[in-house]
Amino acid sequence: MTLGSTASSTTDAEARPRRRPSIGTVIAWAFMGLFLLWTLFPFYWMLRTALSSNNALYAGSNSWLPVDFTTSGFARVFGWQTGEEAIADGGSGQAINFWLYLRNSIVVALLVTLGQTFFSAMAAYAFSRLEWRGRNLVFGIFLAGMMVPTIFTYLPNFVLIKQLGLVDSLLGIALPTMLMAPFAVFFLRQFFLNIPKEVEEAALIDGASKVRVFFTLILPMSAPAVATLLVLTFITSWNDYFWPLMVSYTDESRVLNVGLGVFKSQTPQTGPDWSGLMAATLVAALPMLIVFIAFAKRIVNSVGFSGIK
């Protein structure tokens, strides 16, 4: 089935027998296998270490399975143990405020994703389907914004967020990226331009307003492009570390990544609590991995789709 798809495209007489793959194919699959092993092994190792007892890790460091199986690593992460128990098991006695960090991550990622995509779509509509003076000039200026790496705006934006009094707030983390992104405007404009004008004309003749056309025609017809942007923006925003690290000072506004960083900095310097750290890492990675399992196809297609355009 898998090999057949390339072989069957040649004529049957020319095609090699399917049952006997060439040496090249075998080498290629072997490479692929190694590559997958290297890709997936760290996930297994996270789980294996998280389910090991930290004190036993030192003696059993060459075991491929969890050493002295226990869920005490997770108990330390969620603060289910008393401080003394945690310290006896190799931890620092500090827990992760997981549910709060998770809530913060979700709020920030949703604000950024929904806001950025929607407002960028509105702008893209104005740049592609509305007639107004200066349209191309303003669009050109927006495009020039793509040349400025986000990293350059971090310091001045931090100063601004501080002046606005939004330091250590979720809005402060989300605001700079929730109103637009030059790439999103550019990407959606390209897509809107390819929608045949006739469709829109017909609706306008029927008396629909342009606002209505945008919401009931253009947006639904661009569902693949919009979904792609939503997916990619969500992943980027969820995984962001630098900007939230700058803005948040307390648990109130810490997202999962920042919380994980704090948890790491608290672990004992000599003899780190590796099983606790890996439990925390796994817990921080899990929400996104669950989303991925649920929407794998959509997400995989989105990555390819954004590249072609």
């Binding site: 390339t6 200066g134 790496p149 350059f152 310091l155 001045p156 605001l175 890996m278 954004s306």
Partner: protein, 309 residues
């Protein structure tokens, strides 16, 4: 709003013929671009200008910025740690991009020529779904000198243990490889999407002529892939220059300055020593490097043109 209006007073440079039925949507268009324009001006345009301005000042966040001419730039030119950071960053980019591009290309070609399995594409993308922080944490553990499984394997093979992240010779290559782990699948999928655009008939013709897979790779795939590769390279190189998360989690710039990449130096200068003016000048330095890289690359690869069509 006033800025947008003055911008729109400029003459219009239309890139397509005027529509048969002239309609002026200026009012609606202003409404539609309003949120994005506010976002653009406040969080991208203004910070860019302000970032450049701050680089000519002495500023510690608490007292107002004081203009000090070219002092920051003079200091930068004579700052050995800055030049070291520049060198370290360049080394990182070369290793990271070189390795990542080659592996991604091979994986992408295999995904196209061996199998169309979407499960495989999903697996390859998995590391991209976790954050840099998660990736850094896992590899910090896997590569630990004493207990890490990487060094256990080396020791088991009778080789010497390598202090991957605590030796100044190996630290940058190691960080580069960690980031290859997270990004290579994403890059491979972008290239894969580009490969899908190459018509299957070209390969069939090649086969009829008796070309091997390897010959077809060099004489068909690579030349036709050039525009996509150029785009992917520009994107990944710009991203690579902004490396921060992995360094912040694993080494914090050490040992000594051997992994103090430019972005980490900027962060340290701003938030560790509150020298926002000098940090802004360093950021301008990075901005200039990125602009030069983009322009040179665009010229070299003629990114806009395709051989297909």
């Amino acid at each position: 709003m006033s800025v947008t209006e003055s911008v729109m007073a400029q003459p219009q440079a239309s890139d397509r013929p005027p529509p048969a039925r002239r309609r002026d949507d200026t009012r609606l268009a202003l409404l539609f671009i309003a949120p994005a324009t506010v976002g653009f001006l406040i969080f991208l345009g203004w910070p860019t200008v302000r970032g450049i301005w701050l680089s000519f000042t002495e500023f510690n966040l608490l007292t107002p910025a004081e203009f000090n001419g070219f002092d920051n730039y003079l200091r930068m030119v004579g700052d050995p740690i800055f030049w070291n950071a520049m060198g370290v960053t360049l080394l990182y980019v070369v290793i990271n991009i070189g390795l990542q591009t080659v592996v991604a290309l091979v994986v992408a070609v295999m995904m196209q020529r061996l199998t169309q399995s979407s499960l495989l594409r999903g697996l390859v993308l998995t590391p991209y779904l976790v954050s840099n922080v998660v990736a850094a944490m896992v590899f910090l553990w896997i590569l630990d000198t004493q207990l890490g499984v990487g060094n256990q394997v080396l020791a088991g093979l009778g080789l010497e243990r390598i202090p991957f992240l605590s030796d100044d010779a190996t630290v940058i290559p190691t960080i580069a490889v960690i980031n290859v782990w997270r990004h290579v699948g994403y890059t491979a999928l972008l290239i894969f999407a580009g490969l899908q655009a190459i018509p299957q008939t070209v390969y069939e013709a090649g086969k009829v002529d008796g070309a091997s897979e390897i010959k077809m790779f060099f004489s068909i795939t690579l030349p036709l892939l050039r525009p996509i590769m150029a785009l992917v390279l520009i994107m990944t190189i710009i991203g690579s220059f902004q490396v921060f998360d992995t360094v912040a989690v694993t080494t914090e710039g050490g040992p000594v300055n051997s992994s103090r990449v430019l972005q980490f130096y900027i962060y340290d200068m701003a938030f560790g020593r509150f020298q926002f003016g000098y940090a802004s000048a360093l950021a301008v330095g990075l901005l200039v490097v990125l602009l030069v890289v983009t322009l040179v690359q665009y010229k070299l690869t003629r990114a806009g043109s395709s051989d297909l069509g």
